[in-house]
Structure formats: structure tokens, C-alpha cells
Amino acid sequence: MEKRKDYLRLERSAERRKAAVKTVTYVFLTIWAILVLFPFYWMLLTSVKSYSAYSSEYIPAFFTLNPTIENYIHAFTAVPLGGYFINTMIFTLVTTALMLVVTVLAAFAFSRLNFKGKDLAFTAFLALMMIPSELVVITNFVTITNWDLRNTFAGLILPSVTSVFYIYLLKENFAQIPDELYYAAKVDGTSDLKYLLKVMVPICRPTIVTITILKVIECWNSYVWPRLITDDEAYFLVSNGIQSIRENGFGRENIPAMMAAVVVISIPLILLFLIFRNKIMAGVARGGTKG
């Protein structure tokens, strides 16, 4: 009888402790979630406050009863936000498309073809992964300037195309396709290029989609290179646009309008993320880093 009571007590105290640990865990996780989400909430909130309402709040209000879209209209009319948007779109699309072509071809050569010096070339490629972009940006700046490509899309795009890491990622994926498939295609009379396009690329579509999305994120957020290479507002990307808005636009203190601009440029990527959540997270977990 005594023993049974002991067990019951043990059981109960274990359950209580478990519940306590659970509660603490959830509280902790929720606090971080709020810290993450709060800036987004604040940017949305501020962007729908009218300028006068915002300026009169010495103690900022946590919600507003009179949302307005005037800031959004302002963001598109007072500064060339639409232009920044289109620039970024062109830059992102062209860079990503070029990157895909270059990456797919190189990954195919490394994974499927057999040629002299392949191992050496691949080792060299891997070594290139370790070069920080900060080190090469100086000469690239000079090169692009010498080529007279400042304030052009070519100048923006060319140095941003290749990512050794994506070549590596895709090569690893290509290499997993069994050799027999290649031999089968050969026997069936398929050329190398056709095999690449009709068999390898479709099979590795998930990886290709992943690197595409990662590259799009990278392009959309790129700041340093565009800042160096463009000083003509007509070629600003959104990051530079935001910085310029912050320093010159809207008469400095129109923070709600600034926030409207921030919301507008954040939305495309957040949408992309919500649609391709699993792909993006899986891709980043496989070794992507920011920037």
C-alpha cells in the first residue's frame, strides 16, 4: 500500500514538473516571437497612421482607430519608389536568370562530363567559395568604372551573377542521379545538352527552385554593390532607395510615409517566403548564409 502511494506521488510530481517546464518553454518562445514580429507590426501600424496623428503622439500609441492609406500614395508620388521597384525587379530577374544558366551548365560539367583537369578545376572552385566579396569589391568597382558601366544595369548585374556555392549545391544534387539514367539516355540517342535539359533539370527541379529563390532574396536585398556603382537615382534599387528616402526624401521627419515605403518593399519577399516557406527553409538549412 505504502509503495503504491509513493508511486502515485512520484507520478504526480513528475507531471507537475513537466507542465511547469512546458509553460516556461512556451512563454520563452512566445517572447521571442513577439520580439521578431513587433518591428513588422510597428512598421505596418505606423504606415497607416496619418502624419499629423503620428507627430502629435509623444507617447506612441499601440494601435490606431483611423487607418489611412495616404502614406502609401505619398510613398509612390513624392519619391520614385515605383522606379526603385522596377529597377530591382529587372536587376533580380536578369541576375537570377543568368545565374541559373551559368550554374546549371557548370554543375553539369562537374557532375556528368569527364574531361582533363576536372578535379583540379573543381578544387579551385571550392577554394573560391572562401573568398569574401568584401575583398574583391574594390577591383570590381574599378573594373566597372573603367568599362564605363557605372549607373547601368550591366554594371549592377555582371559582378552579381556567379555564386560558387550554388554551383556546388547543384553539382551535388546532379551527382545523385544514377549513372544508368545517363547511359539509358545515351543508348536512346540523346545528346548531352538534351539530357541535361530534359532529364537532369526536371529531376533536380526542387534544388533549382531553391537556389532561384535564395538568389532572388539575395538580389532583392543587395545594398553594398548597388550603392557603390549607382549614384543616379534612376538606377537605384529598393535598398538604396530606402536609404535615400531616409536621408533626403519626404522632408526627413515624415516617418509614416517612410514606413509605407518600407512595407511596400518588404511585401514581395514576405509573400515569396509564405508561398515557398518549406523550400526556402530547407535550402537555407543546407548551408545558405545571408548576403
Partner: protein
């Protein structure tokens, strides 16, 4: 598989052209620049070869300020972000309901524009004539004095920079740690449980060693990333970082290259190579230390 030399190199050609022009050549060139004294970017001439550029950079008060800022930033953000990320990931691994939701939320900062969200942080922390800002509101609630985090004392600015950096690097760390934790086989935990091992002991004796390669990877990439900090500082304090005393080494490189001080690629190169040397040294030290503490399965 039969050899086909021409075809192989043909497929590699585009990648090699891009990498050659924009990665390999610049890498060589940056070393050359850094040794060319008195280089003039307009006439593309220089006086001589030597270490003057390094000497100049190492005695430039702006560079020393940037160096100090960068080291403080690294020393604070790497341990803090890795530690919190570990706690969060372990917490995430232990719950079932809402796990996906939390994971999604935690990842959001990864896909946002550093400059854009930095602007929001600036507003949250900035004290202006009209408002003390939200951060100060909370400090006031707890009975503290208002501080201007953006244009105020050095420690306050450093705090915001660290805070924003940690906020921005967390998604990557949480994600990588979560997948590392998920890959630890449940069998180990079950075995330990059956043996009556306490939770803390399970964590230190099983979980930590099992994920130590990942943890170590995060620390190395964390160091490298933090040493290259720049955009976060620009987002918070504007492009004139020297004036704000908040410049970083990378910021110094860009300012030297093109900016208010305008067009000194030699100094920029020297500074970039110093940065690279520092990162390389730290990474090597990390690798040496890890030999003792990382368990590879």
C-alpha cells in the same frame, strides 16, 4: 564514361568567365593595390611599392574606431545569438503544437530587407523632439531615464547595433540548429531516459556532443559574418558612419573606396586585407579549439 575535353570546358566557360573577371582577377589585384603607394585613381599612376598603405590605415583614427566597433560587435553578438538560438531550438524541439508557426515566425527576419527593417529599429529606438520612441517608453515604465539610442552615448548606440544584429542573424542559427537537433536519433534519448538520466544530463552529455559540429559551424560562420557587419550599421545610423562613431571595418573599406572621403582604392585594399587576415586568424583559432571539443559522429 569517355573523356571529352573540349565539351567539358565549354560547359564551364560561362562560369569561368564570370569568376575570372569578378573573383579571381580582383583577388590578385587587391593585393597589388594594397602595395601601390600613392595610387591615383584618376590618372591610374602610383609612386612606389611598399607598406605605406597598411601603415596609413593602421594609424587612421577612423580605422581604429571601426576596428574597435567591429571587435565589440563580434564579441557580444556571436555568443549571445548562438546561446539564445540554442535555447530557442531546444525549446522548439520539445514542443509539438504551434511548432511550425513559431518556426515560420522566427524565420521572417531572414527574408526581410536589412535596410528597411533597420529603419524600423531606428524609429523604435530614436529619441526626437516629438517623441522619445518606444524603447524609451518601456524604459520609462520601469522607472529609467530616456536615452537617445541613435544619436546618444556610445554604449547606447552599440547596444542597438548589437540588438539589431542578433535579431537579424537569429533565423539562420535557429533553423540550422533545429534541423541538427531533429537529426539526433530518438533512440539515444529513449536509451538515456530508460537509464534514468536527468534532462540536464541528457542535454549536456548527449544533445550537445551530437550537435557540436553544427554548433561549431554556426560559431565560425557567426564570427565571419559579424566581422563583415556593415549594412545593419548603415540602416541604423545612416551612411555617414564615421561621424556617428559607428563605422565597421567593411564600412571603412567602402568609405575609402567611394564615399565622403572619396576614392582611395589602395587604402581600401589594405583595410580589406587586414580584415581578411583577422577573419582568417580567428577561423584558424576556432578550428584549433574545436579539435578538442567537437565530436564528429
Amino acid at each position: 564514361m569517355e573523356q571529352n575535353n573540349r565539351k567539358g570546358w565549354l560547359y564551364l566557360l560561362p562560369a569561368m568567365l564570370f569568376l575570372g573577371f569578378f573573383l579571381v582577377y580582383p583577388l590578385v589585384d587587391v593585393f597589388i593595390y594594397s602595395f601601390e603607394e600613392g595610387y591615383n585613381s584618376a590618372s591610374q599612376t602610383y609612386f612606389g611599392i611598399g607598406l605605406y598603405n597598411y601603415n596609413y590605415v593602421l594609424h587612421d583614427p577612423y580605422f581604429l574606431q571601426a576596428l574597435k566597433n567591429t571587435f565589440i560587435l563580434v564579441a557580444i553578438t556571436v555568443p549571445v545569438s548562438t546561446g539564445i538560438a540554442l535555447l530557442i531550438s531546444v525549446g522548439l524541439a520539445s514542443i509539438k503544437p504551434l511548432r511550425n508557426l513559431y518556426q515560420t515566425v522566427y524565420f521572417l527576419p531572414y527574408v526581410t530587407n536589412t535596410l528597411a527593417v533597420g529603419l524600423v529599429f531606428m524609429i523604435l529606438f530614436k529619441k526626437t523632439a516629438y517623441t522619445d520612441g518606444l524603447a524609451n517608453l518601456i524604459i520609462n515604465w520601469f522607472g529609467g531615464e530616456s536615452v537617445d539610442f541613435i544619436d546618444g552615448p556610445y554604449w547606447a548606440k552599440m547596444f542597438v547595433l548589437c540588438f539589431y544584429t542578433v535579431w537579424a542573424v537569429m533565423p539562420f542559427k535557429i533553423l540550422v540548429l533545429t534541423s541538427a537537433l531533429a537529426s539526433v536519433k530518438q533512440d539515444y534519448y529513449n536509451a538515456a531516459k530508460v537509464d534514468g538520466t536527468s534532462k540536464l544530463r541528457i542535454f549536456t552529455k548527449i544533445t550537445l556532443p551530437m550537435i557540436s559540429p553544427t554548433l561549431f559551424y554556426l560559431i565560425i560562420t557567426g564570427f565571419i559574418g559579424a566581422f563583415k557587419a556593415y549594412s545593419d550599421a548603415v540602416a541604423l545610423f545612416g551612411t555617414n558612419l564615421n561621424a556617428a562613431q559607428m563605422n565597421t571595418i567593411v564600412g571603412y573599406v567602402y568609405d575609402m573606396l567611394y564615399g565622403n572621403s572619396g576614392g582611395y582604392p589602395s587604402y581600401a585594399s589594405a583595410a580589406a586585407i587586414i580584415l581578411f587576415a583577422i577573419v582568417l586568424t580567428i577561423t584558424c583559432i576556432n578550428l584549433l579549439v574545436s579539435r578538442k571539443h567537437v565530436h564528429y559522429a
